[in-house]
């Protein structure tokens, strides 16, 4: 854990799917940055492949996904699969946006660490990430 306090937490904030509602993603990106984290925002319409690839390239500790359109059931399983496939199980995945209650359990079962529904305080998200982020085992290439 010592390494994490010395190194900045690196977070990829990603907008998968076709949805363009990016107010939440942008506000969160800025809040995490203000909290001292290194934030990379992917921009819109990222496929699961693009997101995992960016996470790998940027060597992030956390991926924050924002989905408001209802496409999480199609997107999250693919993201989690790709992370496993790339041996990136140590990356903390959190999800925000409009996720119906009946889908919360399935999202958690897939390995999503937390789901932040509408109205979550930015501070809670910052605290959650700080508490749950895992130090990287082996640094990636470069």
């Amino acid at each position: 854990m010592k390494a994490m306090t010395e190194q900045k937490i690196r977070v990829l904030v990603a907008k998968p799917g076709l949805d363009g509602h990016d107010r939440g993603a942008k506000v969160i990106a800025r809040a995490l940055r203000d909290a001292g984290m290194e934030v990379i925002y992917t921009g819109l319409r990222q496929t699961p492949e693009m997101i995992v690839n960016a996470a790998l390239q940027e060597d992030v500790n956390v991926i924050g996904l924002s989905i408001l359109s209802g496409a999480h059931n199609a997107i999250i399983p693919r993201v989690m699969d790709l992370l496993k496939h790339n041996k990136m199980d140590d990356v903390l995945v959190v999800l925000g946006g409009i996720i119906p209650d009946q889908d919360l359990a399935s999202m958690k079962n897939l390995g999503v660490a937390a789901i932040f529904q509408p109205g979550t305080a930015m501070d809670n998200i910052v605290q959650f990430i700080r508490t749950h982020v895992k130090p990287h085992g082996v640094p990636t290439a470069g």
């Binding site: 904030v13 799917g17 076709l18 949805d19 363009g20 509602h21 990016d22 107010r23 942008k26 506000v27 990106a29 800025r30 809040a31 940055r33 934030v39 925002y41 992917t42 921009g43 819109l44 319409r45 359109s69 209802g70 496409a71 999480h72 059931n73 199609a74 997107i75 409009i98 119906p100 209650d101 009946q102 529904q117 509408p118 109205g119 305080a121 930015m122 501070d123």
Partner: protein, 610 residues
């Protein structure tokens, strides 16, 4: 108290050698930047000052940040952060203020008090509920429900694949079909959507932007098949691509070809569908993305300016297409700020059309607008409270003189509305229209010192933004350098910060919080995607695919040419609308038509601003 009043009166008597420290006097605000009468000064000293001494003002929300001035006095602001005075009197209006010059009468320039001489007495606002979900069959049922229960117009919400120009069976559509609106792939779906609904009698608004000409073409062909006269049908396509780049982000092609497609619809509409609004220039989404009320007003009106500029460059006459430009604003929580926004909008648009564009046709100079309550203001927590919020927001839109209105359902933050939630939303409009009495008098708040001051401030603020945007070379240029996006992102973040610091209170979210269960919501599963994909498969087997290809090639050829305004009242030869209509008639799909245009124009990727 005497201390305070003596300081103030010394200030008023001007003693330059010993500038008195009135700034920290609690009544100094009465004298700053306004011209109070002797009676008001006396009131401030004799009545206000002792009251403040006895009971100091407390800010609404936490006493920190923007809620305190530099002397630690309570500061009051609108939801957009604009400072609000304790009391407004004549002293707040410009010294040359007079009724005739600044306000005028309803139905007359500058239209601050409304576009109709009789307000809502001759015609109520249209109750137009935005709705669409899952399959065209299910949405058709919801439309019939809304019309049977007194809704007076329809408003189509499309799903994300349709908004982005993809068919339901495209890989990018996975998980998105029918989720945020109705899935429409071909003319066949549009026929189902309006089955049993008379399009000559019902006005229909369609929230569609990048593929607007495609969905509009489908609508026109369905109307024609019903036997409706294009000259008589009325409705609106949103077709506002600029706010997509600014806020909503559902764009396909780069700005220049997108603007060309918009101008094609202006030209086509002014010749063939004289009662159809070919654009709804929208501030709604700009506000939802977190802008202030002023930014919403300024960017939206300036988008309007940009469209007129592009159409004029084509050679179109502003008095031909101008009357069919319509607007769409948000109705947010801050009651008076919102009403001021609508009133200022009409006034500014009148001035812009008259002075900047030399419009002669009186219909070109009037701003007609639709309003929708603010989805962004409706939290998931204690969602029933949203019924109250929506009622108040809708009331502001009505007092601001809206032509049509959508009221959000209380479960807005959770899902698309259930039938019960949609029903309450419609009833809310009916209560305002039929029970409250606010529709009986034209612009009932006109002449309020507070409202008139806010209206003038809005106007001035918007014109200041206009200057900046003009200096950047117009809105497309401003968008390319990320200017409006940055302005909105900053406001959005500041507001969120104020909420987290409890400087702004949201009932049930950061104050008066309880543990609760979520209500029942509408859940859309993947069966719609399967149904739509199956329908597409059958369609592609049934139609003449050679004919579809021929018509798509013809469209691509027209799309690649630079259109010039036609002579003798004819359409530009390269106007894409007739080609799109031809393709639609042959049952080419939304995805196929948009793909043809993608091949000609390419796609747009924004520069992300965070």
């Amino acid at each position: 108290m005497s201390e305070v009043s003596s300081k103030v009166s010394r200030d008023q008597n001007c003693m330059p050698e010993k500038k008195p420290q009135v700034a920290d006097s609690p009544i100094s605000d009465v004298f700053e930047g306004r011209h109070p009468s002797a009676a008001e000064k006396e009131w401030a000293e004799k009545t206000l000052a002792p009251t403040l001494e006895k009971t100091p003002e407390k800010p609404i929300g936490a006493p920190s940040g923007g809620n305190l001035d530099e002397h630690g006095n309570a500061r009051f602001t609108t939801i957009s952060g604009v400072p609000i005075r304790r009391l407004y009197t004549e002293a707040d209006l410009p010294e040359d203020w007079n009724y005739e010059q600044y306000l005028g009468y309803p139905g007359q320039p500058p239209f601050t008090r409304g576009i109709h001489a009789t307000g809502y007495r001759g015609k109520l606002y249209t109750m137009r509920q935005f709705s669409g979900f899952a399959s065209p069959e299910e949405t058709n049922q919801r439309y019939k429900y809304l019309l049977e229960h007194g809704g007076s117009g329809l408003s189509v919400a499309f799903d994300l694949p349709t908004l982005m120009g993809y068919d339901s069976d495209h890989p990018a559509s996975e998980g998105e079909v029918g989720k945020c609106g109705v899935a429409i792939d071909s003319l066949e779906d549009m026929e189902i959507l309006f089955n049993g609904i008379d399009l000559e009698k019902t006005t229909v608004s369609m929230t569609i932007n990048s593929p607007a000409s495609v969905l509009w073409a489908m609508y026109l062909v369905v109307a024609e098949k019903q036997g409706a006269d294009w000259k008589k049908i009325s409705g609106t396509i949103q077709n506002d691509i600029l706010k997509e780049y600014i806020a909503q982000k559902e764009y396909i092609y780069p700005p220049a070809p997108s603007m060309r497609l918009v101008v094609d619809t202006f030209e086509f509409g002014s010749k063939f569908t004289p009662r159809f609004n070919t654009i709804s220039i929208s501030g709604y989404h700009i506000r939802e993305a977190g802008s202030t009320a002023l930014q919403e007003l300024a960017f939206t009106l300036y988008d309007g300016v940009e469209y007129v500029e592009w159409a004029r460059r084509r050679g179109l006459d502003v008095d031909e297409f101008g009357p069919r430009l319509s607007f769409f604003f948000n109705a947010h929580n801050d009651f008076f700020e919102e009403i001021a926004k609508y009133r200022a909008a009409r006034k500014i648009w009148y001035q812009v059309m008259k002075d900047r564009f030399g419009a002669k046709n009186p219909r070109t100079r009037i701003m007609r607008f639709h309003a929708q309550t603010a989805g962004v203001s409706l939290p998931a927590q204690q969602p029933m409270n949203n019924i109250a919020r929506v009622a108040i927001q809708a009331m502001a839109a009505v007092l601001g003189g809206t032509q049509s209105l959508h009221t959000d359902a209380y479960d807005e933050a959770l899902a698309l509305p259930t039938e019960q939630a949609a029903g309450i939303a419609l009833r809310t409009q009916q209560i305002i229209a039929y029970e409250t009495g606010v529709t009986q008098t034209v612009d009932p708040l006109g002449g309020s010192y507070f409202l008139e001051t806010l209206t003038l401030q809005m106007e001035q603020g918007a014109l200041d933004y206009f200057k900046k945007l003009d200096a950047m070379g117009g809105m497309v240029k401003a968008i390319e350098r990320g200017y409006p996006q940055k302005e909105i992102a900053e406001s959005s973040y500041q507001y969120q910060r104020a909420v987290e610091a409890k400087e702004k209170i949201i009932v049930g979210v950061n104050e008066f919080v309880v543990e609760e269960q979520s209500p029942n919501t509408l859940y859309i599963d993947e069966t719609v995607a399967q149904q739509q994909s199956a329908k597409l498969k059958t369609l592609r087997a049934r139609r003449s695919n050679e004919e579809v290809q021929r018509r798509l090639e013809a469209l691509k050829k027209a799309a690649a040419q630079q259109p010039q305004a036609g002579t003798n009242g004819n359409l530009s030869e390269a106007n894409t609308m007739p080609y799109i209509i031809d393709a639609v008639r042959a049952y080419a799909t939304v995805g196929e038509i948009c793909e043809a245009l993608r091949q000609v124009y390419g796609t747009y990727t924004e520069v992300s601003v965070t």
